[in-house]
Subunit: 347 residues, 2 copies
């Protein structure tokens, strides 16, 4: 079993370090960790945010534990050299097409969200976001029109097989949860969405037990404010999923606790905290590593089939929280290492 | 002075009727109201959601008061015949490029939002959304790829002049408010956004007094949850504006009170409540007409230059609210006509 560890920029190395300690503490026989460079730090060392060597490490591994990428000093680089190309490149090159982002308020942390307690308590949803298509990976450019004006353009598209596999991921997830799937699109304006909706309806025939609904993205953004408790699983495209999953995460209030999985067909996946590289607090030992530790738990469960070990990590994090070990982002005072210690002790 | 009144579908006719009563009560000399058919009802009468006769009425008017369009019975029509094409068509044909959507919690109605009171109270923002470009109006279609797969596609684009005029609308609005403008894009992924950002920065040189910032759309969706009070004016493209303005509206809680303006160059504009056609309560006399009445006030102010009359309407609505006249959507029991009466009495 080989796990690639890509710590990246900003607080990435600090939080990843603690997740690695947790993994090592489990003492899993045959577990090998291999580090690789991604993001702004990779650009500075190798001239590219996703060097070939890093891709090779990823391809040779069973799963990737990812920290964060993002670095203001790279803001003026050409697009293909910017840190975020590392994560976009890994998604595309490794066929990581299904992003799973659960959002649920942690008991005892209801006070952290800006939503009223009685609303926040009802949140227990999963967003299944497509990651390999949409306007993210279409042709794009800035051109000069015949009349001399500059124009920026990006092609949005989905082909039926791309929709079918993410729809199945959505239905499969719904089968393990409340059996309700809400597909979010903008079919009243976009042909991409019209095809999306048609294919989701076709796939629904394979899942007679799942209740399927459709919602326009603008309405979904409203409903996540008005009544987020109504949702079980949401399946949506890359762009809408980017927006809605971040909105939903913030509804939970404790973004320092939220993990995510980006899965390929089969068991391979990349696991990362949903928070970013937070350059403002990087290197200060202030970042909360819990989301990365919980990402490592997801990794064990989904990619390595180690349910018991995953549950052990999650229980240790829950106990640390119950014991009042909170990072600064959760209104507490525990630092990065202290939180790592607390989780390791409770394993 | 001629106002085109397009009541449309669902609750559109009921709420528009009350707004018309309010306008008539003002007794404005020389004011002429001309009705036209739009949406599903226009399709049923004339075979098209935006008949030529309606467009002609619009072109002959100084402004449009719009109710709502949307009708489930039209869901299976071809796209160009669906009700929402009426509003898209009016925006494009009449050059209504700037959608102004203010969001502010009404004093006394803080309990209606799902946000904590202390967060909701801070909301006082304006979203300036571009309406004539982006992926809404690009080429689009569903095609069969050479290998036989169906693919849906939509072209996203902005040309520099399109960005420039909406950027100016955003800066101009900021000059009348808190002088802070946040431009929302996805420049880390989209070339359309990269050009958007470049042009907004160019235009900012004309407005040295306005503090300009940039935010990615996923972060904006988060920040609207975390700290909506941080925003003064947000300027963004058609698609992101659709999503964020609906999210922001719901943060206010009282969607039955929110009006919007869609402005062309010069004084022409279309004014509509932001709520939809609400077919479930249509024809029952339950709909809250306040948002449409407030839209009529915006119309008088922006398109007819009648500030005093606009303020009179707004004051009458505020007094009715203060006197406890609330629609069902605001937790009250007043019906459509009763609310209309209450506002007319207080004029
Ligand atoms: C960094 C960026 C390209 C990325 C995205 O838009 O997908 C991020 O926002 C995410 O959601 O992982
Ligand atoms: C009905 C629909 C086409 C429209 C839009 O997406 O612009 C609506 O959501 C709006 O915001 O006015």
């Amino acid at each position: 079993m080989r796990i690639a560890v890509f710590a990246g920029d900003g607080i990435g190395p600090e939080v990843t370090e603690q997740a690695v300690r947790v993994l090592e503490k489990l003492g899993l026989p045959g577990l090998e960790l291999v580090e690789g460079d991604v993001g702004g730090m990779a650009y500075r060392k190798h001239g590219h945010p996703l060097p070939q060597a890093t891709l090779d490490i990823a391809r040779g591994a069973d799963a990737i534990l990812f920290g964060a990428v993002g670095d203001f000093s790279c803001d003026n680089l050409e697009r293909h050299l910017r840190p975020e190309q590392a994560i976009l490149g890994l998604r595309k090159e490794l066929g990581l097409f299904a992003n799973l982002r659960p959002a649920r308020v942690f008991p005892g942390l209801e006070h952290l969200t800006t939503l009223r307690r009685e609303v926040a308590e009802t949140i227990d949803l999963l967003i299944v976001r497509e990651l390999n298509g949409d306007v993210y990976f279409g042709e794009k450019g800035i051109r000069t029109l015949p009349d001399g004006r500059r124009q920026g353009w990006d092609m949005m598209s989905y082909a039926e097989d791309e929709v079918r596999r993410i729809a199945r991921a959505g239905f499969d997830a719904a089968m393990t949860r409340g059996r309700r799937l809400c597909s979010v699109d903008k079919a009243n304006v976009l042909e991409t969405s019209q095809l999306w909706r048609d294919v989701v309806i076709e796939v629904s025939a394979e899942y007679p037990e799942v209740e399927l609904s459709h919602m326009y993205v603008d309405n979904a953004a409203m409903q996540l404010v008005k009544n987020p408790g109504q949702f079980d699983v949401i399946v949506t495209g890359n762009l809408f999923g980017d927006i809605l999953s971040d909105q939903a995460s913030m509804c939970v209030g404790s973004i320092g606790l939220l993990a995510s999985a980006s899965l390929a067909e089969g068991s391979f996946g990349l696991y990362e905290p949903i928070h970013g590289s937070a350059p403002d607090i990087a290197g200060k030992g202030l970042a909360n590593p819990m989301a990365t530790i919980l990402s490592a738990a997801m990794l064990l469960r989904h990619s390595l089939g180690m349910e018991a070990e995953a549950a052990r990590i999650e229980a240790a994090v829950a106990r640390a929280l119950a014991d009042g070990i909170n990072g600064g982002d959760l209104g507490g005072s525990a630092g990065t290492r202290e939180i790592g210690d607390a989780v390791v002790e409770r394993l």
